[in-house]
Amino acid sequence: MTQQTPPPVVEMTGVTVEFPPVTALDGVDLHLRPGEIHALMGENGAGKSTLIKALTGVYSPTAGTILVDGAEHRFSGPADARAHGISTVYQEVNLCENLTVAENIMLGAEPRVLGGLNWRAMRRQAAAHLRRMGLDIDPASSLGSHSLAVQQLVAICRATVGDCKVLILDEPTSSLDADEVAHLFAVMRSLRDEGVAILFVSHFLDQVYEVSDRMTVLRNGGLVGEFVTADLPAAELVQHMIGRSMDVLEAAEEAAERAERPAGATPLLQVVGLGRKGSVQPFDLDLYEGEVVGLAGLLGSGRTELARLLTGADRADVGQARVSGRPTRLRNPRVAMGHGIAYTSEDRKGEGVVDGLTVRENIVLALQAERGWMRPLPRRQVDELVAGYIERLGIRPADPEALLRNLSGGNQQKVLLARWLATAPRLLVLDEPTRGIDVGAKAEIQKLVAELAADGMSVVFISAELEEVLRISHRIAVLRDRRKVAEIDGDGASMDRVVDLIAGGGAA
């Protein structure tokens, strides 16, 4: 396929996108050749979407050149890009569910007759496009009546209407099951064989290795490099994606020193075969008092989903849970709270803070909810509690009556921690507690977690930053492709080992 490398259809060189003061993309190159599937890899915030948007004209680069078929080109937007044969299909299907399949496919390219639409031709042409995709559905049926996978294929079908030279697929597989993914890959391969260049974004490493010919890796807005997929071991890819720094070894040693697991104790929370369809495969996990368990894995590996099952935020389909040895069902967050299990979501804005309420109200919310509305906490007790946490966690501004939306991200996170600490939990599950907050606040939260564990609390700590997980965890559970694949002691954990496990199959 890639023997007599044809000239690239898209050649981006030194592309830079700035949103002052942030540089979202810093001098990145990307070469797309006809008849190849090219994976674009990188963690959250690496610049993948920015790069796609720079290519399709959503953002205009502040530096660099974009050559399409050898000629410099700046698109005015996705419609312009599409007119030049560059189509994008996004993760969420951007189609009209209430229109028919044919209408969706032909939207914007409808065959016309006498100023009106030629419905029959539209259906006939749509049917031809569908056949090319190997999709056997009625073009006249409404799109909403089909599964998400079919809708995804219809979206791709729509993207290939007309002259399609480059097809960009942004996370097309995240909501598909194995058979559907296989079908999608078959379609991708047949398009590739027709000479289309496909840019494929996915967080599933196995899939990237299965289908891609070549890949470009980004990290923190910069280019790591372009690689031939077959020549790059998965572990090396993961290292490229997450990077590594010098203090890692040191940090791991520090964690190892602290690790003193109580021997023979009953786990505070023990789950066996807990799982949920489409979310995370059944897993076992024991959580002990006084221990920090880190969850490591790439984005989409199932770390958040696992945490949500532990805390009742999502309900498990299968498996058992025992709290201090007693069987229980963690049906909802309230039940979990009753067992002393607290959970802060990674989605701080959507599922964490109540931004129209004050710091005081946000801190007492969970405790008050647990007591029920009829037993309000006495005002003096509330004031003492709130003042205590503001002082202990250093919440700024130190004003209980400040509206939460006027606080910085780090301070909002501290308020969330205070909300849960106020309920005196026995197990605290923190999902990305340090994301998007400044370095100082980050260090404070890490220190707090260590202190809480030292005081006997059980903590589950999730972070996209592997170094952070290594630094503060006594034990690390590793997830890959929605499965818990390993569990290792903090003392035995080296960055390389964890990276190998995250990368899986290829090098473990």
């Binding site: 979501s345 599922e351 109540v354 919310l365 909810a369 647990e370 509305w373 009829m374 037993r375």
Partner: protein, 352 residues
């Protein structure tokens, strides 16, 4: 002075005062209250009486809106309540017997509570959008009332029941005493317990509230039930005033007046923070406005237009964006920074 201007009740109260002043100018004795037969008489007393049913409906509406919902069915519930009560009285051998009257009241309130529970079920359990869920009962409810009255306007004589609508208690209109009493009790309960805060949390961020262990579903269900119950009580006051149950016209458009009262009172339709004292002022403004129309002798032809103009003025003054502009004009932008970020857009208002 600045604090007074910024107070959330400033503009609603200013509108109320302006209306009262306009009335007094047109009719100098407007504010006079006299004692006759031991009862208070005068335009202000009448306004309190006409505010009563609206206040009850608006009270329920405020709580529902706090949870991001809306209850369009209250007008129909008002009609059902009156139909049940008067039909029961009319079919009883002695409509004036205390037992009969109490049963009539009990039946009406119980059915309205059930209707509220139905709304709450649709919204909180089945997850139907509040506007659609309550629209069902808004149309079906009048049918139910029609069924109960057999398509007729039921009239009946029952002195004890009539007291609810036009009687006096300690010199004040019974209806007003009841409505303001219920309002005060509910306001006290909401703010003295944690109910208010939990409702606001649910309205602002349902997902975060659920994860924090707030029983959002139960709370939402409860406020719709309460809204039905309060609308039922309002229906009793209205039907007792006229002693006639008109399935088609009782409580017609009261849902719009109630929503308006809530908005004038400064509670955003987007849910969350709510303001019961504002709703009280809002209800008074609307009742006073209706009175003003007759006092000023405005022709019935232009009455809707006049009311619409006043409502537009009040809601504009309530809108945060408009206020910001006014503030910016009045002072150079030196003090602008003190004001916290503007709330989400004020809501559009349908003038009833």
């Amino acid at each position: 002075m600045r604090d007074v201007l910024r107070h959330h009740l400033f503009w609603p109260v200013a509108a109320l005062v302006a209306l009262l002043v306009a009335n007094t100018v047109a009719r100098p004795g407007f504010l006079a209250v006299t004692v006759r037969d031991g009862h208070l008489f005068g335009a202000p007393v009448d306004i309190l009486r006409t505010t009563a049913p609206l206040l009850l409906v608006a009270l329920g509406m405020t709580l529902v809106i706090a949870t991001r919902g809306i209850d369009l069915s209250v007008g129909a519930v008002v009609a059902v309540s009156g139909a049940v009560a008067l039909s029961h009285l009319a079919s009883a051998p002695d409509p004036a017997a205390p037992g009969t009257v109490l049963t009539a009241i009990g039946l009406a309130l119980a059915l309205c509570l059930v209707l509220g529970v139905w709304n709450g079920f649709l919204v909180s359990v089945l997850g139907i959008q509040p506007i659609i869920a309550t629209l069902i009962l808004m149309t079906a409810g009048r049918g139910v009332a029609m069924l109960i009255t057999g398509g007729m306007i039921t009239t009946v004589n029952s002195a004890p029941f009539k007291v609810l609508g036009s009687g006096f208690w300690l010199g004040l209109p019974t209806a007003a005493v009841l409505a303001f009493g219920v309002f005060a009790v509910v306001a006290y309960v909401v703010r003295r317990t944690a109910l208010g805060m939990l409702l606001e949390a649910t309205g602002i961020n349902p997902a975060a509230s659920r994860l924090s262990g707030v029983r959002s579903r139960t709370l939402t269900w409860t406020v719709y039930a309460a809204s039905g119950l309060f609308a039922g009580l309002a229906g009793l006051l209205i039907s007792a005033d006229t002693m006639a149950a008109d399935a088609n016209n009782a409580g017609l458009f009261i849902e719009l007046d109630a929503i308006l009262a809530v908005v004038i009172g400064g509670t955003a339709l987007s849910g969350g923070k709510f303001n019961l004292s504002g709703t009280l002022v809002g209800a008074l403004v609307i009742a006073t406005l209706e009175r003003t129309v007759t006092v000023l002798g405005i022709s019935p032809l232009v009455t809707p237009l006049f009311m619409a103009l006043v409502v537009i003025a009040v809601t504009l003054l309530q809108s945060p964006r408009m206020r910001e502009r006014l503030t910016a004009v009045r002072r150079r932008p030196t003090t602008g920074a003190q004001r916290p970020a503007a709330r989400p857009d004020p809501t559009e208002v349908t003038a009833g």
